[in-house]
């Protein structure tokens, strides 16, 4: 169906259900309960899951298939963000031009950077991409201030020209991006018993886009083009003696992944019309590498999962403070409760990086295929044992 084989179609369906129902199952704990802290069903957080998911899906097309590890993909996300904000400022507060143009701008930008960086491979390629991204970051924060807003960043205001629709509504001085009048920030809240579910317009726009680009990524993985990219990772030199020129293939993969990054940037500013230079910094480029490796390099669904996990840690684990810990362990005798709080303390709150780091190490050491690779490996082993 849809040009996919049965397994891929089921996976697409699975992701569809996951994404569509996320506002419900990401809020498993009733409002006000002890563990409500772990609920993740907030529009801005869920939007981030999907946006970074899109970023990671695209990154995986380059890194997962060809093995070329870019340390500069945040530059394309940043470029897309700026382009998106400019569309919202100059053209219309409708998000569609912003999303389309940010993808195109990032595509052109990645064509230039990729063309130069792909003259080298391995670590030199990674360093080149890193250098370009840091350069973009530095330029965006300084000399390009007229275009990027420098260190304060670029944002929309009510007085922007917006040649198509002029003045826009909004709270304070920031106009609210919308889709044909439907504001991105608009939500419907549904209370069922003690549970509260929030269905947000922006989230479902992100979900719609993610489903499309996820589908495209599956098609790329299963195409002759995708097979060539895998061959590049496996034995680049052999490919040229087979009559294939590897360079245009890697460049195409680079540009496609750059466009995914730009699309993510465009969605980001459609949800919150603000773009800053820090979005291009190397830490942001490194984050998408972690997401992809954690979820499973070269697996179709891994990057989405990795993005979700890292964003969950960053936003939920980081909010757990000692007060909350004491509340959780209150049922224990005093001494033990204090002890538990002391033990758990370094792993949560500001220490969330520690938990994430440990998890990352465990995955890399014990599950070389990432979480998805590990799970499929387990299933395969179980299945094989049963068939014997």
């Amino acid at each position: 169906m849809l040009g996919l084989n049965r397994n891929d179609f089921l996976m697409l369906l699975f992701v569809f259900v996951l994404v569509a129902a996320a506002p419900i199952f990401l809020n498993p704990f009733p409002e006000g309960s002890t563990f409500a802290q772990f609920n993740a069903g907030y529009p801005d957080l869920m939007q981030r899951f999907l946006i970074f998911g899109i970023f990671a899906i695209g990154f995986n097309i380059l890194f997962g298939l060809t093995g070329y590890l870019s340390f500069g993909h945040a530059a394309f996300l940043g470029a897309g963000s700026y382009a998106g904000v400019w569309m919202l400022k100059l053209l219309t507060i409708n998000v569609i031009p912003a999303i389309v143009v940010s993808t195109i701008v990032a595509g052109v930008f990645s064509l230039m950077i990729g063309y130069i960086s792909l003259r080298r491979s391995g670590i030199y390629f990674s360093i080149l991409t890193l250098a370009f991204a840091q350069m973009s970051f530095a330029l965006a924060a300084s000399v390009l201030t007229p275009i990027t807003g420098g260190e304060t960043g670029l944002q929309t205001t009510l007085s922007d020209p917006r040649i198509l629709d002029g003045a826009a509504a909004g709270t304070g001085n920031i106009p609210a991006p919308s889709l044909f009048g439907l504001e991105m920030g608009h939500s419907w809240k549904v209370a069922v018993g003690d549970w509260l579910w929030t269905f947000n317009v922006g989230y479902y726009l992100c979900a719609f886009v993610l489903m499309i680009v996820f589908y495209i990524s599956i098609r790329i993985f299963r195409s002759p083009f995708g097979m060539m990219l895998k061959a590049i990772k496996s034995n680049n030199e052999r490919l040229s003696y087979t009559g294939i020129s590897p360079r245009p293939y890697t460049l195409a993969a680079f540009v496609i992944s750059g466009m995914y990054a730009g699309l993510a940037g465009g969605l980001m500013v459609s949800m919150d019309p603000l773009a800053g230079a820090e979005r291009m910094q190397w830490t942001a480029s490194g984050e998408v590498v972690l997401m992809t490796i954690l979820g499973g390099v070269g697996t179709v669904v891994g990057p989405v999962l990795g993005a979700g996990i890292i964003k969950y840690f960053e936003n939920i684990f980081s909010k757990i403070n000692d007060g909350l810990l004491e509340q959780w362990f209150a049922f224990m005798p005093d001494g033990l409760a204090d002890f538990m709080v002391t033990i758990v303390h370094p792993f949560v709150g500001k220490g969330w990086h520690l938990s994430l780091g440990l998890m990352f190490m465990l995955v890399v050491i014990f599950l070389p295929g990432g979480l998805v690779g590990g799970v499929t490996g387990l299933f395969r082993r179980l299945f094989r044992r049963r068939s014997h």
């Binding site: 040009g3 996919l4 084989n5 495209i216 098609r219 790329i220 299963r222 195409s223 002759p224 083009f225 995708g226 097979m227 060539m228 895998k230 061959a231 990772k233 496996s234 034995n235 030199e237 052999r238 490919l239 040229s240 003696y241 087979t242 009559g243 294939i244 020129s245 245009p248 293939y249 195409a252 496609i256």
Partner: protein, 252 residues
Amino acid sequence: MTVALEVKGVNKRFGGLQALNDVNLLVDEGRIHAIIGPNGAGKSTLLNCFVGKLKPDSGTVLFNGQNLIGRLPHQINQAGVSRVFQTPEIFSDLTVLENVMIPALAHRDGIFELNALRPLRRETDIRTKAVDVLEDLGMEDKLDMTAASMSRGDKRRLEMAMGLVQEPKLLLLDEPTAGMSRADTNNTIDVLKHIGDSRGITMIIIEHDMHVVFSLADKISVLAQGTVIAEDIPQNIKGNPKVQEAYLGGAH
């Protein structure tokens, strides 16, 4: 008789070592031409000069009248020259079938094709072609195996399939039967003979196994220390004193 490959005055030096010394070769179209010689004679180096892996210091390599020197590996392949390497060069992470479909696609679509949304499953012609060649080589039961997990002999047969599926005009084989069992070696001889006869592919084959050489070769060139010391039909090579000396001399 048309000449498929004409090698004229090829020299290649690695530092102080003259690896190829004024090598001349005439390979007739549709024939199997063997290159033999002791270890380190420069046989693989010569093939490297044909496929764009090495650039000779001087000399020309004319393939159907066109000079191959200075052209890129993928251009040379697209011109109809396929090579099987001495140490198997395959796509280890991919399956056997994929390994053969890649060169088949390269043969059909050229050096680059942005067919990113076409399902591979729909490439039934390419698949059939790949399976046919693998069947000829007795590997039809290994289609979905990961290439890395195969024996050395199977990797060689796989690489041969990768070359044959492209229906090349010139096939370069660097010790195609090394590491193969006797039975597989004989099977390979049959396959190459059959293909040589039926499709008229010109072949250059480097081999240490004299059984293979004398079963297949229409003509033999003997290389020793970078120099061609003899070029003749098989019957005349056996009795050639220079050849005997080169082989015996190399043993001391």
